[in-house]
């Protein structure tokens, strides 16, 4: 049994005899020499990842103004930072969006601007106190004017992440990028073979205090990240590092259309090979790491799993979903992940970076629980009208007009001969047909792309659909596309009126 200590490995780093390889290179080494042979040969395995890490942010200390102010609310380039901490400290989060530019500029962009040395406009307000009399501060600073700019990311470096696809008939814009209709593409995140936590799945060397590569400089693992869920393979890390030392090569703002801003963070963890078990773990391959393909078309916490998939399959460029070959896209950069693993390798070889043991192990039994919701969460079936009349697509538009007049509602779902929903006709469509003096069938004047609801969908989801699609009613359908009800903006207004 091979047994090495951190002190021995650091001694080798100091005298230049250390043998460092990347996690990608380690796969072949373990394949050739076996775990024991590899453990004898290799001292450190480096990992790396570079992808969107929304849960990122920076603690800033601005120093005191004259006269002093205790800032209660503040904005950096019009992006709100949390400043309810003492007087002149604030935390800027990556996903907070600009009040004036919206999704195009957010906290992540402020962080990248700081890293690049660009000037940032500051606006702060305060109620004023005897000890902090100032009520407003406006100034322009850059990163060098700050006392501290400490990156502290509450949840980074997910061990692995779910892959995303979309079964609906319209494009979804998500933090996993654009998901095309009818499972038209699959996106995924994570560095697979180079994934830091997957190369030490038992967290033997990664824990509180572990020295890491973060944003182009040395950083540290603070401890487990929020939502750390090791049993499910979804461990996370809380990380810290000095933003002043970081590089725009590895800290990059991103904007996901329809979602907002996020921060691409480059991080890598060295795994000291202390024994053959660790050597074996670092030989993990893309084919060994399994994740789920989730249907993001279902706007629920419990998105359906369409299938399981390995990172090897995802990285091949396409996967099979229900008999269809679907192209895959990574959202994180494998090329940059590789650069990070290689840069960290070089630092260690050059004697510029020493490995460390954690001062505390990460928990291995915590779970990520759902939010406890004490208020009732109404579903579509609770407020929909089940008394819904439909019309056949081959009916005349006069028949549709008659039904709408008799039943006194504005929306008439249209069905085919098998009673499946195929369209919707509104009083407006009929007015239009009358105005144009065109005597058409219902199928000629109906809207074919109908936005629908499910009976067990939360009302909030329906309200979002009504708003984002600019429609005023959603036919409620079952799994066979049979119409079982209709929910209108009026129903939701009434619900809200009852609530207040």
């Amino acid at each position: 049994m091979v047994k090495k200590t951190i002190h021995e490995i650091n001694g080798k780093i100091r005298d230049g005899s250390v043998n460092v390889v990347t996690a990608e290179e380690m796969v072949d080494i373990v394949g050739e020499l076996g775990a024991e042979g590899a453990a004898k040969e290799v001292d450190v395995v480096t990992t790396g990842t570079f992808g969107a890490m929304c849960s990122s942010g920076v603690w800033l200390n601005f120093g005191h103004s004259e006269p002093p102010i205790r800032i209660s609310k503040m904005w950096l380039n019009d992006v709100e930072a949390y400043s309810g901490v003492a007087a002149v400290d604030a935390y800027i989060g990556a996903t907070q969006q600009s009040q004036s530019k919206g999704m195009d500029y957010g906290g992540a962009h402020v962080i990248e601007d700081l890293v690049r040395g660009n000037s940032i406009d500051i606006h702060g307000i305060s109620p004023g106190t005897d000890c902090y009399p100032r009520k407003v501060i406006d100034t322009t600073i850059n990163i060098y004017d700050l006392n501290q700019a400490i990156m502290l990311n509450p949840r980074n470096s997910y061990q692995k992440y779910n892959a995303a696809t979309n079964s609906t008939n319209h494009t979804l814009h998500t933090y996993m990028g654009a998901l095309l209709p009818h499972n038209g593409n699959v996106t995924y995140s994570g560095a697979g073979v180079l994934s830091p936590m997957h190369n030490d799945p038992n967290y033997e060397t990664i824990g509180t205090g572990t020295r890491i590569f973060l944003g182009g400089t040395q950083g540290y693992v603070v401890g487990e990240g929020t939502q750390h869920s090791p049993a499910a393979g979804f461990g996370t890390l809380m990380l810290k590092g000095d933003l002043k030392e970081m590089s725009p090569e590895y800290i990059r703002a991103a904007t996901f259309k329809g979602y907002g801003s996020s921060l691409y963070v480059g991080m890598g963890i060295p795994i000291p090979v202390l024994n053959e078990d660790i050597a074996k773990a670092t030989a993990v391959t893309d084919d060994d790491i399994v994740t789920n393909v989730l249907d993001y078309g279902i706007p629920s916490r419990d998105r359906p799993v369409l299938r399981t998939v390995t990172y090897g399959e995802l990285r091949s460029g396409s996967i099979d979903i229900n008999g269809k070959e679907v192209p895959t896209s990574p959202m994180s950069s494998f090329k940059k992940s590789r650069e990070i693993a290689n840069e960290l390798k070089q630092w260690i070889r050059n004697g510029e970076f020493f490995v460390s043991m954690p001062v505390e192990r990460l928990p291995r039994d915590t779970a990520c629980n759902a939010m406890k919701q004490t208020n009732a969460n109404p579903h579509v079936m609770d407020i929909m009208s089940s008394d819904v009349t439909t019309i056949r697509e081959d009916a005349g538009f006069h028949d549709a007009a008659k039904v709408i007049m008799e039943k006194q509602f504005n929306h008439l779902p249209v069905v085919d001969s098998g009673n499946h929903l195929v369209g919707i006709v509104t009083a407006w469509d009929i007015s239009k047909a009358v105005a144009k003096d065109e005597h058409n069938l219902v199928k000629d004047i109906m809207t074919r792309k109908v936005v629908t609801a499910n009976p067990d969908e939360a009302v909030d989801v329906s309200a979002f659909k009504l708003d984002s699609n600019n429609v005023s009613a959603l036919p409620v359908i079952d799994s066979n596309r049979h119409v079982v009800g209709i929910v209108t903006s009026d129903d939701i207004s009434k619900l809200l009126a009852r609530r207040h």
Binding site: N185, T187, T255, K257, Y264, G317, S329, F334, K335
Partner: protein
Amino acid sequence: MMIKINIAANIVTKPILAESILETGALLNISQAHFDPTRGEVVAEITSDQFRKIKDSLVSKGAEVLVLDTPISRDEEECVECGACISVCPVKVFSFADDWGLEVDSDKCIQCGTCIKMCPHNALTLGH
């Protein structure tokens, strides 16, 4: 060559595309089309010898015709080579090289702009 035809609200309901095709006999290969009550936008391919006559015909009917002569371009500084653009491109302009760098075959580009909306780093632009 690729062209973009903009059709304003006042003529969006008229079949000017069909009229121009019949009138000129030009074979317009439509790759993208978007119509709503406020405007129409069509991206199409046309041979260069047929371009002038279909342009004149469409313009005489009130449309605007732009030549899309600059396909997708990538800002290498902004691009982190994640590959998010790969799966949304309908004509496979983007792919990974052996070293996992991003390769862009802009000759294939039909200038639909889907990849621009996908790119998290705003690294992609269309020339027009």
